[in-house]
């Protein structure tokens, strides 16, 4: 049903699109040949992925002694990268599920690609614990199943096992949610394409979708239920990741604020990654009328809010180091901020706390170049946050004779690069092969804040004078 029209609200989608225009615009990049720019980006990503594959093959063949870890610092780059990538994934689910539950209808232009980003980020994240196992071909031993080793069961009291359950559930539910959303769009592409080969593929993927309202009602119910499940799920995933640390008795890890601190940090870094990708995609794929500057601004506001929580968490760590009167806690904090890894701590505070404050200014939020630079700065900052948490808590433990420093080897650096290669290879393939914007969902918000839906090209209705007020957030 059409929404109540208010001149204070601005349409979510620019350019007076008709329903057919949306189909055309989203399908166009899939129907033309890949551009030179795409090939260049794809081949670069593939090359970097190749370097990662070589590094990982070498370390699996030789053993994880190829890493820079030592007896004091038992977790380094691998766990840092794991937490970093899982965090990136969180923004996608926040956009697709939490904003859906809260009826934020602007999510429709970005949810498809943000969810794809989630899937690829979780894939990258999952690789690191897998490699860290040392014998990755026995990874299935972590699943509880009746076996001939006793049966030897897994330990359900271990946070590392919770992690396995959380990450695999998260991946499966995200994939199902994403595919369900994709189904009607595959039907749109199927009925549009001229190529017989594509028709077969799209037809197979669309499950015989024919637009029946009886099906739409069941579909919407299921979509709502999946969103309702994904909302607490996404909060649980990074909470459980944080418990890998928080349940240990290591000063610097053993804190109760870790779950909310990690979740806020995850959304913070994830939205930064979404912005990095969207700012490029809207330009390259000509989606400026779908992913508008208003969308960018709203995402900046989410970054500002979650960044505030992250800054609060940093200051709580400092406060508790003093207030707890715990010598070890105090030492770890001082060592973090002033010790040999102080440079990493400073990068973290600069990138995550100081620079994002610029987003308080509307002019910065609406300046796409500034936002793009900011998104990269935040990603660097959040990577260093995980590095600081993992490494500085370990490298000077209770016994000064075992103090050590950690620095990554070339193999670890290549593995990190390889994970970026994997992420961008997958994302570029997605942008090439599947509709980047949820066609069906964008059509449903086309007449948002418009007096009449633009029905067809002939009957186009002029838009009302744009309201001066801020965009109303609710649908």
């Amino acid at each position: 049903m059409s929404q109540v029209y208010s001149s204070l609200r601005k349409p979510l989608i620019g350019g007076h699109k008709s329903l057919g225009d949306v189909t055309d615009d989203v399908a166009r990049p899939l129907e033309r040949r890949a551009t030179g720019l795409w090939w260049m980006a794809f081949l670069t990503a593939l090359t970097v992925l190749g370097i990662g594959v070589i590094a990982v093959s070498y370390q699996i063949y030789t053993g994880i002694g190829t890493w820079g870890l030592n007896r004091t610092v038992g977790w380094g780059f691998d766990i840092t990268n794991f937490v970093f990538w899982v965090g990136i994934g969180h923004a996608g689910t926040l956009i697709s599920a939490i904003l859906f539950v809260f009826r934020q209808r602007w999510r429709t232009s970005i949810n498809r690609s943000a969810e794809a980003m989630t899937l690829f980020a979780v894939m990258c994240a999952g690789l690191f614990p897998l490699i860290h196992m040392g014998r990755p071909w026995l990874f299935f031993w972590i699943a509880p199943y009746p076996n001939f080793r006793g049966p030897l069961w897994v330990n359900f009291r271990s946070p590392l096992l919770w992690d396995f359950f959380a990450i695999s559930t998260y991946f499966i539910i995200s994939a199902v949610f994403w595919y369900i959303g994709l189904m009607p769009d595959m039907a749109t592409l199927r009925d549009r394409t001229q190529s017989r080969f594509k028709k077969v593929i799209y037809g197979w993927m669309s499950f015989g979708w024919n637009g029946s309202t009886r099906t739409w009602v069941r579909y919407e119910t299921t979509y709502m239920l999946l969103a309702a499940f994904a909302t607490p799920l996404v909060l649980s995933v990074h909470s459980i990741v944080s418990m890998d640390f928080a349940t240990a008795v290591i000063p610097g890890w053993h804190t109760t604020i870790f779950p909310p601190y990690f979740v806020a940090g995850a959304v913070f870094s994830g939205f930064a990654m979404v912005l990095t990708l969207m700012l490029i995609a809207r330009k390259v794929l000509n989606y400026e009328e779908y992913i508008t500057v208003d969308h960018i601004e709203k995402m900046c506001k989410v970054i500002l809010a979650t960044g505030g929580i992250v800054a609060l968490a940093y200051s709580m760590e400092a406060f508790m180091a003093w207030y707890s009167v715990n010598h070890y806690e105090r030492f770890v904090f001082l060592n973090r901020a002033l010790g040999p890894y102080a440079w990493a701590y400073r990068i973290m505070v600069l990138c995550n706390v100081v620079l994002p404050q610029l987003l308080w200014f509307k002019r910065v939020r609406r300046n796409l170049i500034a936002v793009f630079i900011m998104s990269i700065v935040i990603n660097i900052g959040m990577w260093f946050e995980r590095f600081v948490i993992v490494v500085t808590s370990l490298h000077r433990d209770f016994l000064p004779s075992s103090w050590a420093m950690y620095s990554p080897t070339i193999i670890e650096l290549a593995t990190l690069a390889g994970s970026f290669g994997l992420f961008f290879t997958c994302f570029l393939l997605f942008a090439r092969l599947l509709p980047f914007i949820a066609i069906g969902e964008v059509k449903a918000v086309l007449n948002y804040a418009r007096p009449h839906p633009p029905s067809s090209d002939e009957k186009r209705v002029p838009t009302p004078p744009a309201g001066k007020g801020e965009l109303a957030l609710e649908g």
């Binding site: 049903m1 059409s2 008709s18 329903l19 189909t23 509880p144 049966p151 030897l152 069961w153 330990n155 359900f156 009291r157 919770w162 359950f165 959380a166 559930t169 499966i172 539910i173 199902v176 369900i180 009607p184 039907a187 749109t188 009925d191 549009r192 037809g203 197979w204 993927m205 669309s206 499950f207 015989g208 979708w209 024919n210 637009g211 029946s212 309202t213 009886r214 099906t215 739409w216 009602v217 069941r218 579909y219 919407e220 119910t221 299921t222 239920l225 999946l226 499940f229 607490p232 799920l233 649980s236 418990m243 069906g440 969902e441 059509k443 449903a444 007449n447 839906p453 029905s455 067809s456």
Partner: protein, 175 residues
């Protein structure tokens, strides 16, 4: 042999919702309405009941919760009791994360499968469309032409007053 269908084709959601409501107020049973996106209010105009999939989901999620709870107790306390720091074998708080994740996994995947089964959607199912643009920019109101008492002319007038762009018959039906 599928029943022959009588189709009204519309260009926007307001018209099709209006036509659907008016048709139903005349006492007709709506066969289905086909739309390129989920039109809110159309289910109510057609007189559809809310989907019962929520109940399916509740049962499945509850089942997942029970399985995870019982399995962890049986494994941790009966089949393979493992002394970790002298903690009780039935350590419920430590079992919560897996209980939650299993609930979500079985509830979410289960309700999706239930939806696909109920809506008879499966990979490779041939698409049976009432109109070639129904997944692009047309809304189609479909009625079954039961017998000779079916008032084609009355419906045609009604639908045209709701800005129907085309009215056609589909003798072979869609199923």
């Amino acid at each position: 042999m599928a029943k022959p269908l009588f189709l009204g084709i519309f260009e926007n959601e307001e018209d099709v919702v209006r036509a659907t409501r008016a048709t139903r107020e005349r006492g007709y049973e709506i066969y289905d309405v086909y739309a390129p996106y989920a039109v809110h209010g159309l289910d109510e105009a057609m007189g559809l009941r809310p989907s019962r999939l929520t109940w399916v989901c509740l049962v499945l999620a509850g089942g997942g919760f029970l399985i995870a709870t019982l399995a962890q107790f049986w494994i941790g306390a009966i089949d393979w009791p493992l002394n970790v720091g002298g903690r009780p074998f039935n350590s419920l708080p430590a079992y919560l994360p897996v209980m939650f994740e299993t609930t979500v996994l079985i509830g979410g995947v289960g309700v999706t499968l239930a939806m696909l089964i109920r809506a008879r959607l499966y990979p490779g199912k041939p698409a049976r469309l009432v109109h070639e643009e129904v997944t692009n920019n047309r809304f189609v109101l479909a009625m079954v032409q039961e017998d000779s008492s079916f008032d084609q002319i009355g419906l045609k007038t009604l639908w045209e007053s709701c800005n129907a762009v085309e009215i056609r018959e589909l003798a072979e039906g869609i199923r």
